[in-house]
């Protein structure tokens, strides 16, 4: 019964979130233009990382500004 088996990606240590993002990425990159350009922009996920030390803010890093 397939419902008793853990899915292959789960067994290999991939989370559902990563699994669905990989599938979505593959589909987005296989689209025809002009849909593709719009879709690939959805691939990008950026974040702002604020570090703290002993209660004080230290470094800030915004991934979209990484070189």
């Amino acid at each position: 019964n397939t419902s008793d088996k853990m899915e292959a990606w789960r067994q290999a240590g991939i989370s559902y979130l990563r699994y669905s993002n990989i599938c979505a990425q593959v589909v987005r990159r296989s689209l025809k233009e002009p849909l593709k350009a719009k879709a690939v922009s959805r691939d990008a996920a950026d974040m702002k990382i604020q570090s703290f030390e002993a209660g004080k803010r230290t470094a800030v890093r915004i991934t979209s500004e990484d070189k």
């Binding site: 397939t2 419902s3 899915e7 292959a8 990606w9 067994q11 290999a12 240590g13 991939i14 990563r18 699994y19 669905s20 993002n21 990989i22 599938c23 979505a24 593959v26 589909v27 987005r28 990159r29 296989s30 689209l31 025809k32 849909l35 593709k36 879709a39 959805r42």
Partner: protein, 185 residues
């Protein structure tokens, strides 16, 4: 529901049996009143009173392809296999694998390729299909799919760690599903 309750209360006072019309609801309720109290007895779902249409809501995080659209049948790629949803389908929750959602409405068939998602069939013949990416088969680039599939096959061979291998395998599965969908268009 409120209307039904009002009619029940009315029937209780009138001490008369009330049968609710089955059109659009599929459930007939008979009311017997003894000592002034209404007793609602739900009878079996009359198969001739099943809704004639599925109410389909097909959506993704960015947009909705349709919301509460009346359709006749939807084929859905569940992880345990493709299954068809007709009006009156048993309530179901199913995870979806990369594949084709086929919507039949008045002998018109539309096919969408979805990357992954979930399908929820509700008791009132409402079907919700949630997919991260859902596109018409015509919007898939045939050449990109075939070349991507070849590349993915190479990556499966070259993958070293377990995670790399699983991700490459997954990528290959999605490309294979897309190639199959395009072939059977």
């Amino acid at each position: 529901w409120q209307q039904k309750m009002l009619r029940l209360a009315w029937a209780a006072r009138m001490k008369a049996p009330v049968v609710f019309p089955a059109v659009g609801s599929g459930v007939a309720m008979a009311v017997r009143s003894m000592s002034g109290e209404a007793e609602a007895v739900a009878t079996q779902k009359d198969s001739s009173a099943l809704p004639h249409k599925l109410s389909l809501s097909f959506m993704g995080p960015n947009d909705a392809i349709c919301t509460k659209k009346p359709v006749d049948m939807v084929l859905v790629p569940g992880v345990s296999g493709i299954f068809g949803v007709l009006p009156g389908h048993v309530p179901t929750i199913s995870e979806l694998k990369p594949g084709v959602v086929e919507i039949t409405s008045a002998s018109e068939v539309s096919k969408y390729f979805i990357s992954s998602g979930y399908a929820f069939v509700h008791a009132n013949s409402a079907l919700e299909v949630m997919a991260v990416e859902a596109h018409l088969l015509d919007d898939l680039d045939h050449d990109a799919v075939l070349s991507g599939k070849k590349e993915a096959e190479m990556q499966v061979k070259n993958a070293k760690t377990d995670v790399e291998k699983a991700e490459a395998q997954l990528t290959l599965e999605v490309f294979t599903a897309m190639a199959e969908a395009l072939q059977s268009k």
